[in-house]
């Protein structure tokens, strides 16, 4: 991937682009947001990267995470409206949605546990089982498929040595197919945790995995809910 000519945000043609990867992703502008979610209007979005994936046994919804949930709740006339953001938050803290986490959400929002499970199981982004540190989602829908999405999927499986949906032995990888990621002009689109990799060819896969392997230790332990930036 570290190909200076190839702009990861842009379509498969190499060339001299004015904007950098950081500018496309907006990382300079956005920076890192606080664990308590920042302004209430946007507290339902993930201020932290899903990099903290990988389980934590802190109590759910205490400290800064609790503050974030209160902010989320303040934005809906019915607490049930906060269900999706609350599940996202629990997912972010725990790395997946365990029965215990879903029950905690149900209790906080005054819903029945069965109802919460019914909703959680409807949406594909709520993972009810633990995942690898990196969830690699390869788009194989039509636009990417026309440009070789299936081969990219096979390359990820080959180089991680796992079957779709499995967690690799070192705990690093889970690879699945995903439906259209809305990056069709930049095939093949691959989402790895929170980050999009666009314009991926099968031969790019080993370099992407290497890059992630190098980043993995820096991600460290899951963020502590202190309200500080980390």
């Amino acid at each position: 991937m570290p190909d200076s000519k190839k702009n990861p945000g842009f379509a498969g043609i190499t060339g001299d682009f004015k904007v950098t990867e950081a500018e496309i992703r907006g990382t300079e502008y956005v920076g890192v947001r606080a664990v308590d979610g920042g302004h209430a209007s946007v507290s339902g979005t993930l201020p932290f990267q899903v990099a903290s994936r990988g389980a934590s046994d802190q109590p759910l919804f205490e400290g800064a995470h609790g503050e974030r949930l209160e902010k989320i709740l303040s934005r809906y006339e019915d607490p049930q409206g906060a269900l999706l953001p609350a599940l996202h938050l629990a997912h972010e803290i725990r790395g997946h949605l365990s029965p215990e986490a879903m029950d905690a959400v149900a209790e906080r929002l005054g819903l029945s546990p069965a109802y919460v499970r019914g909703v959680a199981s409807f949406y594909t982004m709520y993972n009810l089982q633990p995942l690898g540190r990196y969830l690699i989602q390869v788009c194989t829908n039509i636009s990417c498929n026309l440009c070789g999405g299936d081969e990219v999927m096979r390359a990820f499986l080959k180089h991680t040595g796992i079957e779709p949906g499995e967690v690799s032995e070192d705990g690093l990888w889970t690879v699945i197919e995903v439906e259209c990621l809305a990056a069709c002009g930049f095939p093949t689109a691959v989402q790895i945790n929170e980050r999009y990799f666009e314009n991926v060819r099968p031969e790019d896969v080993p370099a992407i995995l290497d890059r992630l392997r190098k980043e993995a230790p820096e991600m460290g332990a899951p963020a502590a809910p202190t309200g500080s930036e980390s």
Binding site: F10, A11, I13, G15, F17, K18, V19, E23, I24, R25, G26, Y29, V30, R33, G38, H39, S41, V42, G44, T45, L46, V50, R75, Y76, D78, Q80, G81, A82, L83, L84, P85, L87, H88, L109, V119, F122, Y123, T124, M125, Y126, T140, N141, I142, S143, N145, L146, C147, V178, E179, C180, L181, A182, A183, C184, G185, F186, P187, E194, R195, Y196
Partner: protein
Amino acid sequence: MAYPFVHPDETRVLSKHFGEPEARTLAGWEARGGYQALRKAVEMGPAEIVSEVKDSGLRGRGGAGFPTGVKWSFMPQASGKPHYLLCNADESEPGTFKDRELIRWTPHQLIEGCLIGARAINVQHVYIYNRGEFFETTQILARAIEEAYEAGYIGKDILGSGVDIDITLHMGAGAYICGEETGLMNSLEGRRGEPRLKPPFPAAVGAFGRPTTINNVETLCAVPHIVTHGGEWYRQWGTEKSPGTKLFCVSGHVRKPGNYEVPLGFNFREFIYEMCGGPPEGRALKAVIPGGSSVPILRPEEIDIGMDYEAMAAAGTMLGCGSVIVMDETTDIVKQVRRMSDFYTHESCGQCTPCREGTAWASRILKRIEDGWGSEEDLDTLLELSENMAGKTICTFSDAAAAPIVSSVQKFRDDYLALIRRGENLAASA
């Protein structure tokens, strides 16, 4: 070279500042004339905004093409209860990637559009339902919303007008069906994203039981420009019934994929061959899907038409959300239709039997044909199945799932037959 590919024949209104990182900051947006439309809208008052948008002829960009001003006029006057405006940013139609780019490059354009829309229909709270997968673009939009709150564009007493409008960014969680407006409302309410029966329509009973309007990102992004320059100005582009410009997302076998903004009614053939560079060197065009995977496929000889709602309908397809998927002669049509069908099987919410069962059966039959075990009767079965799926369910998902199957069997029957014959020959020689 600017933003991926910019063609001189484009008419860049909404996409003018794509590729300019500084345009996404509040200061950068204000320097580009941002929030002037909001100032004007606050003075204009609701009735005048609605009338201006009606005059412009702006039509919903999410796919259905319903006139936006008319939709707004369905909202009741202030009833003392909360009213809601929902911005549909759950972009998930295969082939579509315009809303993500609009949010990524011009988040304040969307915020301004939401605020003006809210002002027009007396809404105090706007929810932007953003697709769950869009972590990166969501952070850009979130930062922009925080900036706009700090600057007093959102919140209490906007620009000293006495008008209060809040915006909340709400993340989806991975379900195509939540892009359907009633499914989106259910999802916002913390339910499974299953579409609702209409009537009651959202303007009467919407999110949380309140009067609600749902608009697409691109629709709302066009509103500030219309308020600034007037409805007549917007009509300088496009056709009588489809005025204005539209973003088209081009993907697949094309030399210059990306987003292009052109006036509605632009010639489709010229668009594909001139603007987007046509299929790769030395390969012929085989098929084009003009509006996302849910619309009927066109053959190369059918593309000498205008890119507007009426011309597409006359050609037996739909403009949809303007997602042009180009397929060249190397394409295995049956495989691609099977892949689309798998998508619909996965994403069917399961409420209605024709859709839940129909999508799954269609996928299995298509897979059988693809693998060489099909027969000619399977094609009749597919058409019969599709007929039982279309128009028989709560929402139009089932119709969307049937569209590529029916159009491909009708227009690319030879591709199906070739696979069927090959399988029969293999079986005979075994």
